[in-house]
Symmetry: D2
Subunit: 390 residues, 4 copies
């Protein structure tokens, strides 16, 4: 149970790149990082417009000297301060993640980065190596994975209650972009522009979420080959897709499917992950994250509820409020930021192993997300053919 | 509203092949055919064991003379009678459908046949030609399609309320055969034996149902190519699959996906069809067939209820009881049998056009189901590759 | 499993009073009685207009001689025939049930009567005595109680899996008469006219259904006192109520509540019964009758499915189709008519005890329904005060 | 849309009484107050054990001098400081609310108090007068009411889309105390002890929540008389009830019902409020607070989703994240604390009217909650009879 007690020795001095005025995701990051005192916001390069960024930082109570014109200035100046930041969150457009993360690591900072980490696996792997060499944490913002029922699912799958895994069904299929809303919405426009969004739209924007959640739930599965078909139902979005369907063959014979869409008219999120084993299945839906469906073949289906004593310990550890009371996405993010802080402190102490069984969306997860999208795009662009996973 | 009034001039003299003692599906066929007096059961070759078949027929009140040892005897003898049967239902194992249907048509009988109609498209097309030449009806037992909310969906899609169709998601994925239950259950054993079941298990047994329902709902869609991956999670079932995933490209750019499974542990039917258009989606689930979900992008989702005045006329015409009262699968079947009778009478009167807009799972639907399975198997057996639909 | 096999020695010769042209409920009765051959329809007085009634009967294939002008003529004439009817169903307006049932019993007929059996408890008890003296069955059309999951609930409650019963929550609250639809709908008009409907509207029309189902589920409970408040939101309906709320104290300390309404705008049926015990609760909803919710305190809620092997034997005995396939209200009614036939045969054989544990909505249930409504009305008319149950 | 921007001029200097180590509710209050910078925590009397309280405060980063032994010391000392607290939250056992709130008001502090505000209406009214005289805000912790869909419901009801209100159904019925858990759980023990809990258990603890939500949704309704039956299914809890049922007659003819329980075995919260009007109904369930069911008679039911543009402005104003992403109870509380701050600032500026249409659970709501419980207890203790509301 979390009641605001920080499990680390000290709050981590923290800065933010991007996420300034009008940024919803910036608010989500700050809420999560500051929730239980794991981080202290001390510096920021919040905006591409330096004045607006500075004003924003001052509104947040920052020292004006520590509101920077850009990330380069921030990293350089903070590195000179004895009380300089130790960690930075990167909440900028996709095309900048690689360069900023790289710079942050080179300045010895821990990083929390929005996904996708980079546009190519090679770049992501470079960051992974750099993080290892620098002994730094890179956390990736797979926020949904912080829900406790995801942890519950992981415990159930890895402890074998489902039996051998046969099927993994993933989807994240909303309808908000059924019409060409990008024509009037700047917030959507960049997502369908390869220059800013990278080589994909819904594969990168949506698919990586259930993909990571499935990986958390069933960590043993390794992809052998996959096939991806992608479509641009709003034609002007081509070559970026607004809908995609993926088939996955895992080592050992399990089979996966994934559907992502921004044109699933009338749907909200429809982010669901279902893991089917020999004996039982589990299913989780992000719109009602406090529940986990558990179906044993031959028995009545059960709905597990967050906060109940029958859950596994890791699923209970991060509760902030009793069973029945709904927690939401902000709590899931806060759970991740707390784990980021624990991992950062362990790295600072040169004792990364002490976080033990704790998992979080780390740089490896960031690499895997990019790799997955890259393989999907490679398959789709070759005509929706099978490609060996690489 | 149906209150037992028959819309045909006379009950059709009717016989049954198969469906004898212990056959659940035989009971379903009889319940549907006799429900509102459209058919009169007068003859049968109910069992591979003639004595048991005769006893069964007598229990049903048949004239012992008209309880036959096999379908050949029945067709021959009934053809000699002035009051001989005019229609026959075939509820035998899959491997016999082709021969019996062919014989029935050659004897001038209308036919209702269990699916799959045949094992090959060529055979099915032969039956289609024969039916046309003989001016006979061949109805296929896609029982779920008789639910009124399927008719409602068809009206909505074809009238354009969804806009252009983009996506068709089909599934029928139960978990009842997660374990190798065929080892002890004869009723499952034949389904996984190619000699009796044909070239597929779940594709033929399950996939054809949502496939036909999707066709009813969106009749304009034509398949261009498809790709099918199939698996035998219970290894002894190979080459027959107990799980399959299909991708479909339709002419004009719509995209379809289908998941069928007998190893979806813990699930009952999970037969669902979702049609996504530019503006809205509909979704139907056979386990709760009195509801149809209707989601207009940008509006709250609605749940349409069978029997309500806001529905389209064809969806209301076959109600047997007021809104709120649940109808079940027996009513869906009875709806189909009533349509079969209407079509048979129209054919007998050499005026098949008078059934107008009425649709039912006819021989063409039977051909299409076989064709779909055949294409899926062809794709799967070539390594889950794209095949042009043929 | 039911596959059309009749469990009685012979079909019962059967007649119907009312339920003629345009009567939905007449169709429901015929469908149920004829479903599996338990009854043979041989006579009828279907309509207050004799010619229309005769025409209707002939359409059903009856001998014109046995299409009668009224029930008196029918009972008299049939009593003279060697092959006369042995049972009659009464599907006429409420104000005639008492007289026709009485006449039927006096003619030695078994009866199935629409509810309410009578307008007063005294009358109902008179019929109960008469039925006992005549050794006849009087079945009452509490059709919903025939669903198998009601039987499942009864087994669970009576076997003690819930622990001692604490609470019984009943409701049947639709919204179809939110507006004064009786002004234009004759089918509704008589329901709000005391001359035809009796002393109540929704209490008699709706409340008796969940009341009986609760009694089936928890047969041990005895009402000690109750309090009823009723309202006429459409004022012209007064003194008949279109909404009512009841509190019930049972012997032994259990507490009940009941809500019935015809003005619950936007709701379909909302007929639900929840039984809460010391350890667990069950809840059943008639719109999705194939499911039963089972909630053990401290465990995840389960949803039990009709047809599954984990159910109790009595809940499985009447399945007509496999688990996952929805059954509807017609099957529930057919289950009751089969039990009526079994009870009638046992009475005919002067061996009523041989039906053993079998329950059905019998004359006692009819009496209890009338008594409940009478007590509710007595409470309501005294200002919604507690009345000792009598 | 909320993105962390404070709408008040300055953060309010804030202290807390109670809510110390191990207090879940203390964490909820702090999370809400501090969420977007509306309050700054500067002082506390967190614990009945002064040392433990001081340690707790220091862990929270407070100045040790401002960690007080008790509320009296805190109020006295802070009143002497130029930078003393301006508002205090009271999160202590129920029996202390009255005295501490009174003292706080007398010291010129704004108050946020846990419910129930007091044990008697007279006391609550005294606080109401005192608050008015002192020009202070007293907010009451009806946290669920801060969910945006409650605001949506209010807009819909008050704008007349439901038509005249006929029925109000309220419930909050969990099963967590089905067994006598108080024997081993100190956290439950005080709730069933009149000395600490006051004259009721579930009426005060649970009923006041849906009661206030219904009042928010349908503010025009005034209670005329009510009747309450309460039970102690765990006998040792008597005279405090663990289950209660209430009937309510409102001025003008609307009718209400309320069910509260701690022995609804297997249920989580089941807190639901349904408002039925002439034309339509709405229904809200706190376990899935991002949805609001809207049912227009004669139309398909709709499920409204938080964050969607079709909602009313007040329901959108407090969103922190886009539609589809679940918000939880912490956001609802934060919404209330933001409103508390706005109201406090308006009072400080002697311009309380400037908060305009904004509503929040104020001292009047606190009085009404106490009054409702008092009337219920009066009715129940007189034998569950009708009492004129006073």
């Amino acid at each position: 149970m979390i009641m605001g007690d920080r499990k680390t020795k000290a709050a981590i001095r923290w800065g933010v790149v991007g996420g300034g005025k009008g940024s919803q995701i910036g608010y989500v990051h700050r809420s999560a990082a500051l929730r239980d005192g794991y981080f202290t916001l001390l510096a920021g390069a919040f905006d591409i417009d330096p004045d607006r960024g500075a004003a924003f930082g001052e509104d947040l109570g920052l020292d004006p000297d520590r509101c920077y014109a850009d990330y380069k200035a921030m990293f350089a100046a903070e590195a000179q301060r004895e009380d300089g930041i130790r960690a930075v969150t990167i909440a900028t457009p996709n095309n900048t993640h690689y360069a900023i993360t790289k710079a942050a690591l080179e300045h010895g900072l821990h990083v929390v980065c929005e996904k996708p980490l980079t546009f190519t696996t090679a770049e992501a792997q470079e960051l992974e190596r750099l993080a290892r060499d620098q002994n730094r944490v890179v956390g990736v913002a797979y926020g949904y994975s912080g829900h406790q029922m995801v942890a519950q699912a992981r415990q159930m799958v890895t402890s074998g209650v489902l039996g051998a895994i046969r099927l993994v069904n993933m989807q994240f299929a909303h309808g908000f972009h059924s019409a060409p809303v990008e024509e009037t919405s700047p917030g959507v426009k960049w997502r369908v522009d390869p220059a800013f969004a990278g080589p994909s739209y819904v594969l990168g924007d949506l698919a990586t979420h259930p993909f990571y959640i499935a990986e958390v739930m069933a960590p043993e599965l390794k992809i052998k080959r996959l096939l991806c078909a992608r479509q641009s139902f709003v034609k002007a979005r081509a070559p970026l897709e607004d809908n995609a369907q993926v088939m996955i063959e895992y080592e050992g014979g399990a089979f996966g499917s994934l559907w992502v869409s921004a044109v699933n008219a009338g749907a909200m999120h429809s982010q669901k992950v279902r893991i089917v084993g020999e004996k039982a299945s589990i299913e989780w839906w992000d719109e009602h994250p406090n529940q986990l469906r558990y179906e044993v073949q031959g028995e009545p289906p059960r709905v597990l509820e967050r906060g109940m004593p029958y859950l596994e310990a890791p699923a209970l550890a991060e509760d902030r409020i009793g069973a029945g009371h709904p927690e939401g996405l902000f709590e899931a993010w806060a759970n991740l930021y707390a784990r980021f802080a624990l991992a950062m402190e362990a790295h600072d102490d040169r004792d990364p192993g002490r976080v033990g069984e704790m998992w979080y969306p780390d740089v490896r997860a960031g690499v895997e997300g990019v790799r997955f999208v890259e393989n999907c795009v490679r398959s789709a662009d070759a005509g929706a053919v099978w490609v060996e996973y690489s």
